[in-house]
């Protein structure tokens, strides 16, 4: 899975959580929580969906690494590399 594939999955899942926003137009370096107005429940749902879809573990202590779209893509690529 390439970084672009991972980003596409991320944008898809963010779109489910914030359906009224166009996640594909997100500034990759903006804070997701602020940009999409998502709360801790939304964030947990995002992490749950990503973990299930990509079949990786995302420990709670790593949540700060998912702060922006760009950070999250880097992190997930790295986790997938570990899992592969």
């Amino acid at each position: 899975m390439t970084r672009d594939d991972v980003t596409a999955v991320l944008i898809d899942e963010l779109g489910r959580i914030a359906p009224e926003t166009d996640a594909s137009r997100l500034d990759p370096n903006a804070e997701l929580r602020d940009e999409l107005d998502i709360d801790s429940m939304d964030f947990l749902n995002l992490v749950t969906a990503l973990a299930e879809r990509l079949i990786i573990d995302i420990p709670e202590t790593d949540y700060p690494k998912l702060a922006t779209l760009s950070d999250a893509a880097d992190y997930l690529v790295q986790r997938l590399g570990v899992a592969a």
């Binding site: 801790s40 429940m41 973990a51 299930e52 995302i58």
Partner: protein, 380 residues
């Protein structure tokens, strides 16, 4: 027609989800009604067989109007439905004193059942015209579209936010006019709760993780067991304790507005059960599929501002409830422990309470009880 809030006077039946002759049991969803809070699923408290409908889809009726005759049903214990006229048990219906005209056509709405059906069939709601009351899209419209009825232009919207704003305004104006609020505020150290949470979540996959919100709700529910004067309703006869601890949990709706559906018997749920219910509630608030029993009978409200917010919230009591507990954003602040200043994670807990039902001394004890519970998270 169940009452889904002190300010609700009437509701419109959108569609029946069961048929006469169907056997129903407690918790079954039998109908969808349109209210100021959007389309709400009506779940039922009785068991029996539906004999016949008393209200046709599209009709707007006052709160308390019988919607259906259910044969073999025991009268619902009043305590279980609190202030609410749920669908009554088999009885001679009383003619409604007035029947309101259906509301003027506004933005199209979608019933929860229709929304689910559309999702299952992969049908876009955007192109549909609703045939339900007020132009609401109902299951029949989805069926029609699925069989090639062809899209027609419409602008469906799941909630009428202007209408919801009016409902909130009415309830809050009533509250501020009638309820002599008093307010208390305290700071609670979260070190133990957060450490326990981190330790617990470290061993769990995301789907099973807990949020601080679940601990806060459970701590309030447990504290209410020892402070019953904050759990219930203020009525013409004075304070009436709630029959259970049903915590209305304020949940923001994306795009504006909020609802506070109940987590029923929160004191009896394990933390995992409570978290699962909270997750389910938030998901259903987001997709607009709340049930009438959840909106009708909270005995207290908790508002939890979450992580990107402000430190303190002073709530407005939702009538006829008598208390609202507010939690601000958890923050790290200097804190004195045994003469030393150390950095600690703290949260502000506030109480807005009805002075007709309690006073500040008991209110302070109630907040202290919540604090105590949060210092022993493993026992929640």
């Amino acid at each position: 027609m169940p009452s889904l809030g002190a300010d609700m006077e009437a509701g419109t039946l959108v569609e029946w989800l069961k048929r006469p002759g169907d056997r129903i049991k407690r918790g079954d969803i039998v109908a969808v009604v349109e209210t100021q809070k959007g389309a709400i699923e009506v779940d039922i408290f009785e068991e029996g067989v539906i004999e016949r409908w008393l209200v046709e889809p599209g009709t707007t009726v006052p709160v308390g109007t019988p919607l259906a005759l259910i044969a073999g049903a025991q009268p619902a214990p009043a305590a279980k439905v609190s202030e609410v006229a749920a669908i009554p048990a088999a009885q001679v219906p009383v003619a409604p004193s007035r029947v309101e005209q259906p509301p003027a056509a506004g933005p199209a709405r979608v019933s929860p059942a229709a929304r689910r059906l559309a999702a299952n069939r992969g049908i876009a709601l955007d192109g549909l015209t609703g045939s339900g009351p007020g132009g609401a899209i109902v299951s029949a419209d989805i069926e029609r579209a699925a069989t090639g009825g062809g899209p027609r232009p419409a602008a469906p919207k799941r909630l009428d936010l202007a209408e919801m704003r009016r409902a909130i305004a009415a309830a809050m104006a009533h509250s501020k006019r009638e309820i002599p609020h008093y307010y208390l505020c305290t700071t609670i150290e979260l070190t133990r709760s957060l450490a326990w949470l981190q330790e617990t979540n470290a061993t769990r996959p995301p789907a099973q993780r807990l949020l601080l919100a679940a601990l806060l709700l459970k701590a309030v529910a447990r504290a209410l067991g020892e402070a019953p004067e904050f759990n219930g309703f203020f009525t013409a006869e004075g304070f009436k304790p709630g029959a259970g601890i049903h915590i209305g949990t304020a949940i923001a709706i994306r795009g504006g507005g909020l609802v506070a559906p109940a987590i029923r018997d929160a004191d009896k749920l394990s933390l995992d059960e409570l978290m699962a219910q909270l997750r389910d509630l938030v998901a259903r608030v987001r997709c607009g599929a709340l049930r009438s029993s959840e909106l009708s009978d909270p005995t207290i409200t908790v508002t939890n501002l979450g992580e990107r917010s402000v430190e303190t919230v002073f709530g407005v009591i939702y009538p006829p409830q008598v208390a609202l507990v507010g939690f601000g954003m958890p923050v790290e602040r200097p804190w004195a422990v045994a003469g030393e200043v150390v950095a600690r994670r703290l949260i502000t807990a506030t109480l807005a309470a009805d002075h007709r039902a309690s006073d500040g001394h008991r209110g302070a004890q109630f907040l202290a009880l919540i604090d105590q519970r949060l210092q022993s998270p493993e026992a929640l």
